[in-house]
């Protein structure tokens, strides 16, 4: 640890770089299947003045990020940080697929397009 830098409050914790370890990483459901790539983070300021990541925003606002802006948080789709169980080369959560609202697009493609085609619900033979 170089001299003169402020001490991080979490002595025994693990340092996670939001940009390097969270943004654009693959989010997995509790079965290890891909949910979506993490598009953005919602960071809130707590009463004690520290900033915490509260939500991982999904697929959402990527176009806005391209232009350096952000969409209003109120209509963001995301999963809570509390559902994260592991931060590795992907981010694992304890979420069931159906409990992720942001996956409505996937459900639409499944129910309207792919599943109705014969064989769509079967394992490849």
């Amino acid at each position: 640890m170089p001299e003169g830098l402020p001490q991080h409050p979490a002595h025994d914790g693990r340092l996670i770089d939001a940009n390097l370890h969270l943004l654009d990483r693959q989010l997995l459901d509790r079965d290890g299947r891909p949910i979506l790539a993490i598009g953005d983070l919602r960071i809130e300021r707590r009463d004690d003045g520290r900033h915490v990541v509260t939500q991982l925003l999904l697929g959402f606002g990527l176009t806005a990020r391209f232009f350096g802006a952000h969409r209003p948080v109120s209509d963001a789709d995301g999963v809570p940080w509390s559902s994260v169980t592991e931060v590795g080369s992907a981010i694992t959560t304890n979420l069931a697929r159906d409990d992720v609202p942001a996956l409505w697009v996937e459900r639409w493609w499944r129910d309207r397009v792919i599943a109705p085609i014969p064989g769509g619900r079967h394992d490849p033979g």
Binding site: V105, R110, D123
Partner: protein, 413 residues
């Protein structure tokens, strides 16, 4: 060591990947064109690209086997969403162009077998390809297309039957200068085109995603090594045999190859109709294998960029967007080829442009292959990094030179 059979059959992943890189419809024709105009003086380019694709395919296979992350997830993570999107659009466009050409190539092969005009085959070919993507297991696709593609060894057998002047072929390999009547720029253009074809980005997408389809884990790293060290040299050897056949039959006669029928003609000279049928079945397997490979690569890379579930190990309903992409690219390919456009020309363009996109794919793979967070104790050693860096430089040179050479030589005319 007792080898489980399923894993041994897994070597066909490397073979099928290499078929896309070295003997798909564009390469079949380009290799024969090069053989008929330059002899074997460009064989060194094939050798160089075999080494390059082996190094980078192994790295991406290793990343997938150890961390479970596929190539385009990593590209997005390391380049950021914006640069990765540019890369995605570029490489998917190239892969899509190649897919279109392969559909046309299958139709051309069927035309040579049956005598019916190729446009009549486009719709049935596209339908069969989609059915295979929809219903057939990944390992079955891989084994059938990969192993039947080996019928292209007919070119190598034909070369021996033709009984060429080996000394002369050897001189051509060593000579490495343009043949009489060809300018140095044309020579350089074909060098870049062959290199771009051998190292196309979709091979890496396909190889690493295929590794995930086969559920490779840390214990299967040897399988990745076996795959790259068998598959790509086999592909390269087939490519050189095609060029050698053209160099033996066409070059002395002063015939410049311009169609698929001329590509397979030397086998006909050596073995007659039976030989032609065998080699054409090989051509059909190679082109349809490459069509499946490119269609899947489009689906893999787009789904991995977005973070959608992907892969043929899932039911279609479990990876709906992935299967929607497969459906759309097959329909697009089918529509474009129904217009009667020449598939060979389409691949020649795609090969040159993919040379431009190469560095954007290979650089992030090299970075991640050195990241212990992904690979633990399996990060690249010094030797691997040494070769990877050399290839990165070659790739950059090819990327910069590709378009100016294409314009200056008018596509090598």
């Amino acid at each position: 060591m007792k080898l489980p059979m399923a894993k041994v059959a897994g070597v066909s992943l490397g073979i099928l990947t290499a078929i896309g890189g070295f003997v798909d419809i564009g390469d079949l024709v380009t290799n024969a064109v090069v053989g008929s105009r330059f002899g074997l003086s460009l064989a060194w380019v094939v050798a160089v690209s075999v080494g390059g694709i082996a190094v980078f395919a192994h790295m991406s296979g290793k990343v997938t086997a150890v961390s479970g992350r596929a190539t385009f997830e990593i590209i997005r993570e390391r380049l950021g969403p914006r640069a990765a999107l540019a890369n995605l659009i570029g490489s998917t466009a190239m892969t899509l162009l190649t897919l279109m050409a392969e559909i046309g190539g299958v139709a051309l092969g069927l035309q040579l077998l049956t005598g019916v005009m190729p446009v009549a085959f486009i719709l049935p070919v596209a339908l069969l390809l989609w059915l295979a993507l929809w219903r057939v297991k990944f390992t079955v696709l891989e084994n059938v297309a990969g192993l039947m593609g080996l019928l292209l060894f007919a070119f190598l057998v034909a070369l021996f039957k033709l009984g060429p002047d080996w000394g002369e072929l050897g001189r051509q390999i060593v000579q490495q200068t343009p043949a009489t009547g060809e300018g140095p720029l044309t020579y350089a253009f074909y060098a870049v085109a062959l290199f771009g074809a051998g190292m196309t980005p979709y091979e890496v997408f396909f190889f690493s995603s295929g590794a995930a389809e086969e559920k490779w884990g840390r214990r299967d790293l040897w399988l990745s090594r076996v795959n790259v060290s068998l598959g790509f040299p086999i592909g390269g050897m087939l490519a050189v045999s095609i060029a050698a056949c053209a160099a033996v039959v066409m070059l002395p006669a002063g015939i410049g190859v311009s169609s698929l029928s001329q590509v397979v003609a030397p086998v006909g000279v050596a073995f007659g109709v039976a030989g032609l049928v065998v080699v054409l079945v090989g051509v059909l397997a190679a082109t349809s294998g490459a069509a499946l490979e490119t269609a899947l690569s489009c689906g893999y890379s787009i789904a991995q960029y977005a973070g959608w579930p992907w892969g043929k190990r899932l039911r279609p309903a479990q990876a709906p967007q992935f299967h929607a992409i497969l459906l759309v690219v097959i329909i697009l390919g089918c529509l474009v080829m129904l217009s009667g456009i020449d598939p060979v020309m389409v691949t020649e363009f795609s090969v040159v442009f993919s040379a431009v996109a190469l560095p954007l794919t290979y650089f992030p793979i090299l970075v991640v292959a050195n990241d212990p967070q992904y690979l633990g104790d399996q990060t690249n050693g010094r030797v691997m990094n040494f070769f990877a860096l050399i290839y990165l430089v070659i790739v950059m040179v090819a990327a910069v030179a590709a378009i100016p050479l294409m314009i200056l030589t008018r596509m090598g005319a």
